[in-house]
Amino acid sequence: MVPLSYYLVLSGILFACGVLGFLIKRNIITIFMSIELMLNGVNLSFVAFAAHWHALSGQVFVFFVMVVAAAEAAVGLAIIIAVYRTRETLNVDRVNLLKL
């Protein structure tokens, strides 16, 4: 039996990687993948807790997160395509019109 803490540490590492990728990467696609990584890090901790406490609600929550992630991927990729068509770049540092 693998202890709970291992899962949580892995989950934290996955989440930290996601955050790090989000902050340092400039390509929107990569940033998008980092978000997925964060979501899955959280998912991992959900199922780990669910298995540990023998509670179904954690697993149900994971499904919700997956559904949201799928929807988000669809909308997000569409937005990315739209951005690329108008700006011809995927560098977020150059997509910065929304400011004062």
Binding site: V19, F22, I24, V92, N96, L97, L98, L100
Partner: protein, 657 residues
């Protein structure tokens, strides 16, 4: 029980007229406006006559409850009307004189651009005045009281593009507020101590109380506060200053509001509250003293005025003083009697003065008149009758009422009588002075003056079509009311013959009967009464003679006398500098205080500063904070991550603790 089921219609008819003309008058023709204004006002008058015809003293007073108004525990006030002998007299005077002046206004104001506005205001005034006199409780009376003040304000400032008219309107309104303050406090006292504002309830509660001889007490306080209100509305010392300025309004307004009806509301209110006043001798004495002083004071100012309407204005104040003197000595019916005759002859005087002003193209300075008897004989005749009436020459109306007041005053104290007689002498003098200056001698105005600008005070805009080559008589729509009022000024006094008027009003002033009985066994000595009558007639004739000598026989004399009495003359001509005194005492400090303390220190220094400073602070902070919003997605993400890190750190720290 009531034979007058339509009593409530009397005030509401003019209100309907005011509403129709006010809302639709702008687009209607002058004829339609005239029809609406006159029909609604005339209907009110007809209804009043019908009510008077069906009035029977035996079953008076009549009540009519229109609707509930305030219900608060045991305290309740209704929209209810009240008809007894006193309100019947007022009802007839207000509707009758008011209707005549409406007719006159048609001729006087026809060419004015705001004709519909004028007629609407006049009708509105009628509504409020009738509400005032028909009210069954003090609160409904107060509505009328405030309403006539509003109508007065609107009509004084009718030519609001003129600075003097606009500020005269404001002055009238503000000075009246001071009086209304007293009136309101009196009402609060009544609510507190009697739990009602209804006339019948309050008077029933007051009747068993014994007179407050100590000079202090509840009734004295109420009486004095009511007198403050009356002094404001009826232009008594010290609140009379607004009335002369109110002459900035059109002349029919001066006749209707500032001579015949509204300014007498204070007298009516004091008479209505006679039950309270009789039990407060100190308040009564104050009323009498204020009235007597005002009568004399205003009359002396009237001597030196050169503006025809100003003379009449001070004369009005003086006559109102007589009425208060009468009320103050307990002769309420004599006061109301004088109120009625005064409405006739002073209304007539103002209308005739308006006719003169109209006839010579807006000039109000009597020094530029003269000789007008040849140009406007009807105006001359009617104004002459009114002058004889106000001077107290028998058998004209003013003689009866004034003599009644003087006789009653003499019974109270010879001081009142003496001042009253002196005032009668001055009254006669300045009125005949006015007559001789206006109608006697030669015309002193510029005759050939085709393109005259109406820069006179009374700039009624009828100078479009015809230039004033020379003075002309007014049209019959204006002369008609003059003639009717002249007839009333002649015969109006006879209703008081043999104390009939007093007996008619007696049920209203039951308490005053004690005073009357006191005098009745004195009155056995008729010789004294006739002697006093002779004195008052002779002073009136003396005043006439003096005016004749000074202003007809030796017209150069007055200037020489004025030069000799320079200081005194200047003081009188400048109305004893009372306006200047008030200006220095109240207006200046108020404006100074408001400017420096309220405006600069508090408004700008505290309120504005607080608002502006907090806005400045918010802008300053956001100016710095807005740099966070760089548009760079990764910097946003950094903020979010940092925020998340702070939250996690906080939770960990809390968990560790």
């Amino acid at each position: 029980m009531t034979p007058n089921p339509y009593l409530w219609l009397v005030p509401l008819l003019p209100l309907a007229g005011a509403a129709i003309n006010g809302f639709f008058g702008r687009r209607s023709s002058r004829k339609a406006i005239t029809a609406v204004a006159l029909v609604f006002c005339g209907l009110a008058f007809l209804l009043a006559v019908v009510i008077a015809a069906r009035f029977s003293s035996a079953s008076a007073p009549y009540y009519f409850n229109l609707a509930h108004w305030l219900r608060s525990g045991s305290f309740q006030v209704d929209f209810s009307f009240y008809l007894d002998q006193l309100s019947l007299v007022m009802l007839l005077v207000v509707t009758g004189v008011g209707f005549l002046i409406h007719i006159y206004s048609v001729g006087y104001m026809w060419d004015d651009d705001g004709y519909y506005r004028f007629m609407s205001y006049m009708n509105l005034f009628m509504f409020f005045m009738l509400t005032l006199v028909l009210a069954k409780n003090y609160l409904v009376m107060f509505i009328g009281w405030e309403g006539v003040g509003l109508a007065s304000y609107l009509l004084i400032g009718y030519w609001f593009t003129k600075d003097s008219a606009a500020s005269a309107g404001k002055k009238a309104f503000i000075v009246n507020r001071i009086g209304d303050f007293g009136f309101l406090i009196a009402l609060f006292l009544m609510i507190k101590h009697f739990g009602s504002l209804d006339f019948t309830h309050v008077f029933a509660a007051v009747r068993p109380l014994s007179p407050e001889t100590a000079g202090t007490g509840l009734l004295t306080a109420i009486g004095l506060l009511l007198m403050v209100g009356a002094a404001g509305k009826s232009a008594q010392i010290p609140l009379y200053v607004w009335l002369p300025d109110a002459m900035e309004g059109p002349t029919p307004v001066s006749a209707l509001i500032h001579a015949a009806t509204m300014v007498t509301a204070g007298v009516y209110m004091v008479a209505r509250s006679s039950v309270i006043f009789e039990r407060a001798p100190t308040a009564m004495m104050v009323v009498a003293i204020i009235g007597t002083l005002t009568a004399l004071f205003a009359a002396t100012i009237g001597i030196a005025q050169t503006d025809i309407k100003k003379v009449l204005a001070y004369s009005t104040i003086s006559q109102l003083g007589y009425m208060f003197m009468a009320c103050g000595v307990g002769a309420f019916s004599a006061g109301i009697f004088h109120l009625m005759t005064h409405a006739f002859f002073k209304g007539l005087l103002f209308l005739a003065a308006g006719s003169v002003i109209h006839g010579i193209g807006g000039e109000q300075d009597m020094r530029k008149m003269g000789g007008l008897r040849l140009y406007m004989p009807w105006t001359f005749a009617t104004m002459g009758i009114a002058t004889l009436a106000i001077a107290g020459i028998p058998p004209f109306a003013g003689f009866w009422s004034k003599d009644e007041i003087l006789w009653k005053a003499f019974n109270a104290s010879w001081v009142y009588w003496l001042i009253g007689v002196i005032t009668a002498f001055i009254t006669s003098f300045y009125m005949f002075r006015l007559m001789y200056m206006t109608f006697g001698g030669e015309y002193r105005g510029a005759v050939v003056q085709q393109a005259h600008g109406h820069d006179g005070h009374d700039a009624h805009g009828h100078g479009q079509g015809h230039g004033h080559g020379e003075p002309h008589e007014s049209p019959w729509v204006m002369l008609g009311p003059l003639v009717i009022l002249a007839v009333l000024s002649v015969v109006g006094g006879f209703v008081g013959y043999g104390n009939r008027f007093e007996h008619f009003l007696a049920p209203v002033f039951q308490g005053a009967m004690e005073v009357a009985q006191e005098t009745s066994h004195e009155a056995v000595d008729h010789t004294l009464e006739y002697l006093l009558m002779g004195v008052s007639i002779s002073v009136a004739v003396l005043g006439w003679l003096l005016a004749y000598l000074l202003y007809s026989r030796h017209p150069q004399l007055p200037a020489r006398i004025a030069a000799k009495l320079d200081g005194l003359y200047q003081a009188v001509a400048h109305k004893y500098y009372i306006d200047e005194l008030y200006d220095a005492l109240f207006v200046k400090p108020l404006i100074e205080g408001s400017t420096t303390i309220l405006w600069h220190d508090i408004d700008q220094g505290v309120i504005d500063a607080a608002v502006n400073d907090s806005a400045d602070a918010a802008r300053h902070v956001s100016d710095n904070v807005r740099h966070m919003q760089s548009g760079n997605l990764r910097s946003y993400a950094g903020w979010v991550a940092a925020g998340g890190a702070v939250v996690i750190a906080y939770m960990i720290w809390m968990g560790v603790r």
